[in-house]
Amino acid sequence: MLDEATPLFMQIAERVSVEIADGLRTEGQRAPSSNELAIRYRVNPATAAKGLNLLIDQGLLEKRRGIGMFVAAGARERLLVAGRLRFGRKYVEPMVTEAGRLGMSTDELVALILEFGGAVGLPASKGSVTA
């Protein structure tokens, strides 16, 4: 189920983050309890709790004394920003490196991006429909 390399609690935190980023869990909404997560993902409750604590440390969840954990304000925005940064590092950097190795110019690279982007239905610029 979960991958072998990353610590489990980080994977749990990741799953919850994805729910927030996708808008499935909105600001002010209750976060899943560690027991819920433990049973859902079939992991030890302590691991699930560690994952939730990680999200609190990252400011994505907040703890309200005596009541529980809730999605923090601005969590979604922050996740999307962080996601873009990660996207850049993970995909764009290797992509431009590879493009350089193949002797492409930035223009040629952009043309390629537009071509593939169009095929997938990515809007050419923010707000507009497909290119």
Binding site: A5, T6, I39, V43, N44, P45
Partner: protein, 298 residues
């Protein structure tokens, strides 16, 4: 925090054979710890001594600060149904009924639910149960007892894959609602890996690995490819399990590989495969173990 179970220098000798050799390990209060190792490694002996079923030759065991041997008040808080447990000429319902008298936290409804979940016929004689059903009976008693210290000796032995899945889910659910100290010994390490907070590996009566399962994740990777490339990648790192042929080499590398490492491996056209907990355990037991435990987990 004082550990719930504290084992110190525990030794058990049978004639000239050392079943346990100076075992020192602590088990925390609310936790699920995996007791892993080969057959005859000493896992069951350790659990038997913790439960007061067997006596130590040397060393000590403390449960909640007291010695468990002949300690009624303490024994009441522990449950240990072994693999191949001997029962009187009972039917299933007799065993359940008897168990219900001995545990202050016993939950009858849970026992009934569990019996149904495992399809255990209450009116069948225990000696007529299949191996898997006997394991299931042990699980029912162990979980329904809701004992503060729950020792599970190869509980999934003989259970088919579906029943095993049910058991793990039930264990998690019960543990989440009523946290307790759980020791679980098993061969099927990968199946339970996600449930375990800690793993303790025992080999030839000694503890060869004692670590948080999260810390162990991803700390061993098998690297394969052309021998020269593999050697270049592996240089300076802790490695073992080398398998070389003329055109291909495969070796296990210790330590966590970060993104840079992975990128480099991709450039060298090397194949990376993270070792599962079970594979790690096999390696740990196969080779001289102290180094591994010290260098990878530190």
């Amino acid at each position: 925090m004082t550990a719930a179970i504290s084992v110190s220098g525990l030794t058990r000798r049978y004639g000239r054979q050392l079943a346990l050799n100076g075992v020192t390990v602590d088990f925390e209060g609310a936790s699920i710890t995996g007791l892993l190792g080969r057959n005859g490694a000493g896992k069951t002996t350790l659990m038997r001594i913790i439960a007061g079923h067997e006596l130590a030759s040397a060393g000590s065991v403390r449960v909640f600060g007291a010695e468990p041997l002949e300690n009624s008040a303490l024994l009441r808080r522990m449950v240990f149904i072994r693999e191949n447990q001997i029962y009187p000429e009972f039917k299933v319902r007799h065993a359940i009924r008897t168990a219900s008298w001995f545990y202050p936290n016993w939950c009858g409804e849970l026992a009934e639910t569990l019996l149904e979940e495992f399809d255990l016929p209450t009116d069948r004689a225990i000696k007529k149960l299949s191996h898997g059903m006997r394991s299931a009976l042990g699980i029912v008693i162990s979980l329904a007892a809701r004992a503060e210290v729950t020792l599970l000796d190869e509980p999934n032995s003989g259970l088919d894959a579906v029943a095993r899945r049910r058991f793990y889910d039930l264990l998690l659910r019960e543990y989440a609602e009523y946290p307790r100290t759980v020791l679980l010994s098993t061969h099927l390490v990968d199946e339970v890996a996600d449930l375990l907070e800690r793993v303790v590996v025992i080999d030839h009566g000694c503890v060869v690995l004692d670590a948080c399962s999260d810390d162990l994740r991803g700390t061993a990777t098998r690297v394969s490819g052309r021998p020269l490339d593999v050697e270049e990648f592996v240089a300076g790192r802790l490695s073992w399990g080398r398998a070389t042929s003329r055109s291909h080499e495969s070796v296990v590398v210790g330590g966590v590989l970060d993104d840079a490492d992975r990128l480099w491996a991709r450039e060298l056209h090397l194949d990376l495969r993270t070792l599962s907990l079970q594979e790690m355990m096999v390696h740990v037991v196969d080779q001289t173990t102290e180094d591994y435990a010290r260098e990878t987990v530190a």
